[in-house]
């Protein structure tokens, strides 16, 4: 199983794990064969906090009959890497840069698992 399938397998079991480089200690996303920073292949799967912060955000406009507007954000995980995702369970245009968010596993066996984010409990959503 290559790194991407291993990542998926962890998500299928409910574990959010990313690779961490034993050499330079970078946490890596998306999963890779080598550390994109230092080139080391000594990578270990580690469970991450799932905590992150919105780095940038956009409301994608979509016709109501096709599901209406939705959010796309870049989320920077507290472990370092950034990923593109949705912030859900909040009106799309209320998502703001700097907002604290929490990862959640979405999707399924058929279409693949993926991370989405919810506003962090107790955080101020303005």
């Amino acid at each position: 199983m290559g790194p991407e399938e291993q990542y998926q397998a962890h998500l299928a079991e409910g574990d959010i794990k990313l690779q961490r480089c034993d050499n330079c200690h970078a946490t890596i996303f998306y999963p890779r064969v080598l550390c994109p920073d230092c080139g080391s292949t000594d990578l270990e799967w580690q469970t991450i906090s799932g905590h992150g912060e919105v780095y940038s955000t956009t409301t994608t406009r979509r016709r109501p009959d096709r599901g209406g507007d939705f959010n796309i954000s870049l989320v920077e995980l507290s472990e370092g890497p950034r990923l593109l995702s949705h912030v859900e369970n909040i009106e799309p245009d209320r998502v703001e840069i700097g907002m604290k968010v929490q990862a959640r596993i979405s999707g399924g066996e058929e279409e693949g698992y993926r991370l989405v984010f919810d506003p962090m409990e107790g955080a101020d959503h303005g």
Partner: protein
């Protein structure tokens, strides 16, 4: 090392197909029309072409498709897919091939009927970790714009200035596809596409094709058109998918620009006219900063008050750009063609006075690849 390419080669011929909405024409037919016009322009024959640098959409093997259609048997074939920056990148490889003696007459060409065929542009397959979230091309640019606003206080009015300036130039270009008047208020009140980008922040989708013929500087002098010399060129990349772009407010143009300028032996103050790939309004703002025309973060105020519009201090996208002139899937080659028109003094009502040095800057992917070229007229050699 790098200066060895400076002014070794020149653009001898340019050709534009009919463009805008050209129903009933395939992308290959538009390409061929632009090649015929480029050959007429420089007085060379089809049989003189011995190097082909091509990308057309939608075709999985663009170079053989072009060579077969035109029945060419070139000695050099190049079709590296760097999105819309491919064509400015081809300048580098055509110049190298000619300078090394691998070929003598290089054709760079592109064609697309993106508007009529409804085949959407870019040559992008699904991008892992992006497409599954409903991300589209505009998404990445919107995220870059939102971050720039957050860090530097850039506003939608600043972006609207870019759209209005492009429209102003388009109104001076009889061939530009969209010529209707556009005000800042119009742009601000237009339908939103992906916040903070609205309809007028996004490029057109048109049909069209372009061709450029490049030869050695010595040969160009004996051809009918005034040569446009390639003074400098450099390519840089930063990412494929937007989540991997280290800083969404700084593109790889911050690296390609200085390298191209160094090869050309110029600095931004020497540039008379800029053709910047404006897929979205934020592009123009980012590239002005990254190429060193103003400081990082000051692009919005810098370009405001009509500075890059007709009559402003700094002429940018003088054909109307991808925003108002044409954008058939990928726009890169048209930055080169408009720069040549300006340097020849052949741009009609939109001509920039005494244009001697121009930048043609290509953008590819989602701000992913940046290729800067510096082009010069006869006074630069």
């Amino acid at each position: 090392m790098g200066e060895s390419l400076r002014a070794q080669t020149a653009i001898a011929g340019i050709g534009l197909s009919e463009f805008g909405e050209v129903a009933g024409w395939s992308h290959l037919e538009l390409m061929a029309q632009s090649v015929v016009r480029a050959l007429d322009d420089c007085g060379l024959k089809k049989s003189d072409i011995d190097g082909v640098f091509a990308m057309i959409e939608p075709t999985s093997l663009p170079v053989p498709a072009v060579c077969e259609y035109l029945r060419l048997q070139p000695k050099v074939m190049e079709g590296t897919m760097l999105g819309g920056s491919s064509f400015v990148n081809f300048l580098q490889w055509a110049a190298l091939s000619i300078t090394a003696g691998l070929c003598e007459v290089a054709l760079i060409t592109y064609g697309s009927n993106a508007r009529s065929s409804k085949v959407r542009p870019g040559g992008f397959a699904a991008i892992p970790y992006e497409t599954e979230y409903g991300a589209r091309l505009v998404t990445s640019y919107a995220l870059a714009a939102a971050r720039h606003m957050h860090e530097y206080g850039t506003t939608r009015e600043h972006l609207a200035e870019v759209a209005v300036a492009a429209r102003g130039w388009a109104q001076k270009n009889p061939k530009a596809f969209v010529q209707d008047p556009l005000t800042i208020e119009d742009a601000l009140s237009a339908r939103m596409i992906s916040d903070p980008l609205g309809l007028n922040d996004c490029c057109l989708i048109t049909d069209g094709a372009g061709a450029v013929i490049m030869v050695s500087a010595e040969r160009a002098i004996n051809l009918p058109q005034q040569p446009t010399y390639l003074l400098g060129v450099a390519a840089e990349h930063s990412h494929q998918q937007i989540a991997q772009m280290a800083d969404l407010t700084v593109t790889a143009a911050a690296r390609s620009g200085p390298r191209a300028f160094e090869m050309a032996g110029i600095s931004p103050k020497d540039v008379d006219v800029l053709e910047l790939y404006d897929a979205f309004t934020i592009n123009t703002l980012l590239f002005l900063e990254d190429l060193g025309f103003c400081k990082k973060g000051e692009g919005g105020p810098f370009l405001s008050g009509g500075r890059i519009a007709p009559g402003g201090d700094l002429p940018v996208n003088t054909n109307g750009g991808g925003l108002s002139c044409m954008h058939p899937g990928m726009y890169g080659i048209f930055t080169i063609i408009e720069a040549v028109e300006q340097l020849r003094g052949a741009a009609g009502d939109r001509q920039v006075a005494n244009a001697n040095i121009a930048i043609a800057h290509g953008n590819g992917g989602t701000l992913s690849i940046q290729v800067t070229s510096v082009l010069g007229g006869p006074d630069t050699v």
